[in-house]
Amino acid sequence: MKYVNCLLAVLFVVLSFSAAAVAHKVNLFAYAEEGTIFTESYFPDGRAVEGGKVLVYDSKDTLLLEGATDTEGLFNFDIPKGDDLKIVIDAGMGHKNSFTLKKAEVEAGK
């Protein structure tokens, strides 16, 4: 009986976390302009993702650089490479998403 209760408690905790992850789905949007890539990370209701980890990968999944979002959810960096760039936002607790900036968009922003 004790074992079943314990299992239910674990299940409850797991379900609560997954529900929260959906309700607070995190997003990252990026664009390139005058040699810089601008990223902004936000929750659907517009709140900024503060101190979220940003990871930038090329088309071969090689990590090019990483950084953290400021209090407005922003993180900017110089264009590292003329390639498809996969930019990942990791706000912890399973709040993770990515945005791919196509090579053409990167080149256009050089």
Binding site: N27, F29, Y42, P44, D45, G46, N97
Partner: protein
């Protein structure tokens, strides 16, 4: 391609059957974008069509160039009237083509985009009045769900109380009717399904006149609700008489002003 052919096969007899019903023919201003949700994998250029139609019957009416057409995003209005191009269209049972308007709009930033139109007054001899339907539709971009409940500030408009995108078939749409910024108590709202919805292969054939246009009344605060039973685009139209008049053939005529809002539903599967 195949669904298109099937759709066309269904449309012709369906159109004749609709004609036979002799329907009520409610006019609707319409703004139909190519998508209501833009994600990073989508084409970021929206095709936006502006029309004056009978949505259930698929009939087009000649539409003059609108007086105002724009988009509200991040609290800022952008005039897009110069981008509109005239296009011709008709229903399968119409023997003449009519003008509607179209534009390509590039989505560049996250957030909600509310497109709005203030058309030129349309003279309707059958009703002995002019019709002006202020029409809106909202498109969401890149997961930022902000802006959809903002007022455009039109003479009359529907403010959505339901987030107007990401709606399932069967969802309730709730909105508030405003006239000069104030709620309209007990406003009458007409609702029609857009039979011409892209991908709709089962053209709806109304079994009797009252099925063409659904009618609900708002409460004392101008708030109304309707549950949408089929996937596709739905138009909500609240009609009021303007305090101003226009002249036709030297005589003063009344003006029907409509607040129209469009939303799209999808099946759960």
């Amino acid at each position: 391609m195949r669904t298109k052919t099937i759709a066309a096969l269904f449309m012709i007899p369906a159109a004749f059957m609709i004609l036979a019903v002799h329907s009520a023919q409610a006019h609707f201003g319409a703004i139909i974008p190519s998508d209501d949700i833009i994600t990073q994998d989508d084409d970021k250029t929206l095709d936006v069509q502006v029309k004056f139609i009978h949505p259930m019957e698929m009939h087009y009416m000649e539409m003059a160039k609108p007086k105002q057409f724009g988009v509200l995003h991040d609290g800022k209005k952008t005039d897009l009237i110069g981008s509109l191009a005239a296009v011709k269209g008709k229903s399968p049972d119409q023997d003449q083509e009519f003008t509607f308007w179209s534009t390509g709009y590039q989505i560049r930033r996250p957030g909600d985009y509310t497109f709005y139109v203030a058309p030129a007054p349309y003279w309707e001899p059958a009703e002995d009045l002019f019709i002006v339907h202020y029409t809106k539709v909202c498109v969401n971009a890149f997961g930022l769900e902000e802006g959809w409940d903002q007022h455009v500030g039109l003479e009359t408009e529907i403010i959505p109380f339901t987030r107007p995108y990401g709606l399932w078939t069967g969802n309730l749409f709730t909105g508030q009717v405003l006239l000069k910024g104030k709620p309209v108590p007990f406003a009458e709202v007409e609702i029609e399904y857009l039979n011409e919805t892209p991908g709709n292969i089962n053209i709806v054939v109304p079994p009797a006149d009252p099925y063409v246009t659904q009618v609900v009344k708002a409460d004392v605060n101008g708030v109304f609700s309707y549950a949408m039973p089929k996937a596709g685009w739905w138009g909500f139209s609240a009609l009021n008489q303007a305090e101003w008049t226009l002249t036709h053939d030297g005589r003063e005529k009344g003006v029907e002003i409509g607040a129209v809002y469009w939303v799209r539903t999808r099946d759960m599967k």
